[in-house]
Structures are given as C-alpha cells and as structure tokens.
Symmetry: C2
Subunit: 355 residues, 2 copies
Amino acid sequence: MSINTQNMQRFTRVKIEEFIQRCFVSSGLPSNDAATVAHFMAESDIMGKDSHGIFRLPGYISRLKAGGFNKNPNIKITQERTATALVDGDNGMGHLVVNYCAELAIKKAKKTGVSWVGVNHSNHAGAAGAYAMLPLEHNMIGIYVAVGSANHLPPWGGTEPLLSTNPIAVAIPGMKEKPILLDMATTVTSYGKVKVHAQRGIPMPEGWMIDNEGKSMTDASLSDNGFLLPIGGAKGYGLALIFGILAGTLNGAAFGKDVIDMNADKSSSTNTGQFIIALDISAFMDVIEFKKKIDQVVSTMHNSATMKGVDKVRLPGDGSHAAITDRVLNGIPLPLPLLEGLNKIADELNVQALD
Amino acid sequence: MSINTQNMQRFTRVKIEEFIQRCFVSSGLPSNDAATVAHFMAESDIMGKDSHGIFRLPGYISRLKAGGFNKNPNIKITQERTATALVDGDNGMGHLVVNYCAELAIKKAKKTGVSWVGVNHSNHAGAAGAYAMLPLEHNMIGIYVAVGSANHLPPWGGTEPLLSTNPIAVAIPGMKEKPILLDMATTVTSYGKVKVHAQRGIPMPEGWMIDNEGKSMTDASLSDNGFLLPIGGAKGYGLALIFGILAGTLNGAAFGKDVIDMNADKSSSTNTGQFIIALDISAFMDVIEFKKKIDQVVSTMHNSATMKGVDKVRLPGDGSHAAITDRVLNGIPLPLPLLEGLNKIADELNVQALD
C-alpha cells in the first residue's frame, strides 16, 4: 500500500522509541524491557512495516492493562540440545521473547554451524524481518517463522478459519549491497490491510479474499464473513500449515483451533509460538566470498530486463531499504489520527506526549 | 493432473526397481548405486510423482552415455561443523548424493537436535518428498530444498528466466495418521506439466504461464517464449530466490545464470545444489505426544467444513498416500508409449525388457 504522507507528521526514530518506552514504563514494564520492545517496534516502523510498529502501541497497552502480558516474565530454556533449544516465554511481550531466542540461536550457531530455537508462551513480536536480521551482524543467515495471532485462513477448500497468515522471514547479507530480506505472510494479503480498506471504504483487489462459497470478495466491510486466500492455493495452505506446526505444535504452543485472537481477547495468554534458525555462513563458505556472490545475485536481478510498465526488478527487502533511507533522513511518518490516539494514551498514562 | 489408466500397463514396484537397476548396471553404474537410484526412482513412482520416477530413465541413461554423470563418484564431506556439513557430490547421480546427505543429517541431528547438510556437484534427484521422508523413521522432521534443473522463472516483473521452480519438501510424522508431506514447487505449476499439455495439444489453465509482456498464456505450444508464474507473485519469486541461494549459492553450487538445463545439455556437470535439514522431535517434545498432536491436526483438517463442491479438506501428502495405497496393491501404471521407450532402451542396453 502506498503511503500518503499528507496528513502525516514525522518523528525521529529516537523520539518514537523514547515515547514508546515511557508509555511501557508507565504501564509497569521494567525500563530495560520497555527499551527493548520500543527498539523492535521502532525497527518495524523504520523498515516501513507500519502495521507492526507504533501502530500497535494502543493494543499492547490495553493488553498490559488487562493482564494479558506478564510484565516480569522469567524467559527461560526448558529443553536444550547442542544446536537446539525450547524456550518458555512466560507470556512476556513477544519482542523480548523472540530477541532472547535470537541471541540464543546466534550463540549456539557459533559453536555448531546451525541452530534452531523454538518458543512457546510468547506473544506477537511485530515485524518478522527485524528478527531474521539479527544473525546478520554475526555473519549468519537468519530464518524466522511465527504462528500468526488470529485465524482468518481456512484450509484449502474449507470454510473454517483454522489457520493464520503464519509468516516467514529470511535475511541474507550482501557485501556492498543491502541484505536480501524476505518477509512474507503465506496469504496473499494480511488481515490488517483488509481492515484498512474497510476503514477507508475502498474495494479490495480481486484475489485477496473469498466468501464462504469460494466466490471472490472485494467489499472489505464484509470481511468478517470472508476468508483470506493463501498464496498459490493449496500450496500456500500447505506452507501455512507446515509453518504453524513447526512454530506452534512442535513447541507446545497454540496452533489451529487453539490460537487466540489477541485483538479480540486482551487478557488470555496467547501461547504464541515462533522459531528462529541461525545459519553460520562460514560453515559452508568463506564469508567474504559468499557476500560478494550475494552482491552479484542482487545486481543480476536489479539489472535484468523488465516487462513493459515495470521500471526495475526488485529484490525482497528493497521496499524496506527504501523506507529506511527515507525515514532515517526524514523521520517516521505517523497519520494524524494515530498520533492523536497515541497522545490520548500518553495523557492517560500521565507521560510526556509525542511531539 | 488426473491419470488416465487406460492405455497403461501396471508393474509391481519390484519389477520397476529391478528393471531400472539392470539398465543402470548395464550403463556402467556399480550394482549398489544402481539399486539406490532405482529405489528412489521407484519411490517417486509409488508416491504418484510420475514425472520424477521411471519416466526419467531415458534422460538419465543418455546423460550417463554422454558422460554427464560421474559413474563412480567420491561423495565426501568437504567442510564440517557439529550440526552442519558441506558435501561434494562429485557429479554423482543426485539420488545417491542426496541419500548420502540425508543419512549424514540424521546422524548429526541425533547428537545435536538439528542439522543442516548442504551439497554441491549433485544432480537431479527425483521427487523431493522422498528425501524429506527419510528422517521420519528416526522420529525426526525432514526438510529438503533443491535448486531446480532448468530456469523457466523470471524475477517478478522481469523477462529473463533467472530462476528455477526451486522446490521445498517437508515431512512431519503422525501416530496413526499418515505423515503430512508437503512437496511443492515455488511456481504455480512445473514446466513438465506444461510440456505434457503441449504434447497433448490441450490448453493450459489461466495462471500457469505468462508471455514476455506479462499477458496470460494458455497455448502450451508457445511455452518456449513464455514464463512460469511464481505462487503469490512477488512472494513466490522471493521464495524461489531464497531457496536458490540457500541450496545453491551457499553451497558453491549453481544458481541463477549458472544453472545448466540438464535436458538440453547432457554432458556438462550441472553442479546442482540441495540442502536437507533433520530436526529431532525429542529435542522439543515427547515424540509420542507430538505424533498424537499431529494426528489431531490431520483429523481436524480432514473433518472441517468444506466449500460447496469440495468433498473433503485435504492435507499435503494425501495425494501421495492415495497413490501409494493404489500402487502397492495394483502396481505402478506406465503409459504404453513410455513402456515402449523403456523397452527400446533395454534392447539397446541388451538387458531384459520390462514385462
């Protein structure tokens, strides 16, 4: 969705982070934890993943108020092998929990070449790409998969929304080129984008949703009675199912019917599952050689011939890199209604407004 | 594609395997290796992956004749960490090489919980699902990804076929239920299916291919000037790209422009790349408990409500399990033209015909 920067006010990343942090601290989160969550939320915003950044603050705050998050979680390893760990997030905010898992995965992969860390009793953690990126500064590739936080996807041919958008993010570093960063749901679109269309009263493109007879649905206001479509039909359903089992079932986390819609239910523990893989490049190839090869891949794709009407072939992550360039320079744009909502919360929490 | 079993002759798996084995032995493959390749080819057939089984024998035999495979490969580990290995397939037949990698991955995962084995100088290995299934008897989950053997997929918005269908297979065991087995290309369809439509002179469904202006192409006879479509547009392109980098570039194997079309070039080493992950269930959860949970997932999906016109919701792998049930009982059906071609080869190789 293109961003209309009219009716927007821009803020530096620092201002955004400090604002989020003080709201969380005032809501009872320890200062360090508040800073970590603020970091990853601002990271989502800076990467252009607007629906996963400060936009989520009101929902998180009301969940904190309702007791839906553990403010002082004891995040810990409950099972461990040389290259694996199962982590109990103790219902802490997902950003804290997944960051813990990523750090653990990186530490393990340094010794073993690859590691796989799964987690239960975690929560929504924002933009998947932010976690897949963490291994990169250790010359590793990052892979992150999450069970989505609400079910809007039926199995292919079905009418029961038993699955979520279960996203995957993979980050691969280049040398001079920016990282390749795939960050995608297994559905054609997200439910968040559907809701934006409903709010604005504009029709959805064909192929986003179907009704319970399998017919195309373009009226977003009817979305409660419709279903998201998986990418590639049965294939996307297969990916959503497999990712859900690997990130959910295998970790003893919620999957399928057990998934709790975090927006509809503010107080129950969601038992969200995720996993992260750290893959040490040097276990396979000289790191510099690999990164140069990635530069070649990026440049080959960027410089390849395009279809009529397409200015340039893109790499996964190009959109985020463009957003980062713009937002580091010009600040993170917030729509005025969102800004008003945030400052209403600040007022209630008796903390300094965002201005 | 539904199979028309008229004009088909059925053979037991044993007969198919023995036939393949004697053709390979007569072509210079050591007897043990010939048996291993024959096993995995017959496995493809028994699973209903007809385009990856005995159908490939003529191509493999002509490649052996042309010196395109190393008949006595020294398959070996060239780099190793506790949980990873890089294997050099020494241009052996892919079935041998990937089987070696799978066994190594299983051995490693028993110690470490998870392992990732990548390979270069491998070759086309047939049905991906056959390898993802190997870890299951060790109470592990299997994940297998390959760089496809010919490029028919451009980057999204582009017109240069820089990518292949780069498939992924994931196998997850149940207790009483049959395994969930996802085995999918990152394209809407395979080029093999396009070729079958061209041979039969029947139009392709919309959404399989586009021409170089991005317009839908349904005339399969024009496919040389068209491109496969990735699942979910940019998302499927992203998956094909990432899988290609992880299975190809990271292993020092061919990717992008370097991929050799094994059907067009019979003598050059393809330097095919693949990787396999073995994930030990017991590193995360009691194996019995996990398998019972998978049974529940399978049964929930199977018993969930369907759209009008859909008899039953399926799980990934249901098609293969149905094929196995039928073919174990009734034999593997071979179209008569294929059978004639196979027996012509048998005649040339001076081995006993398939009858």
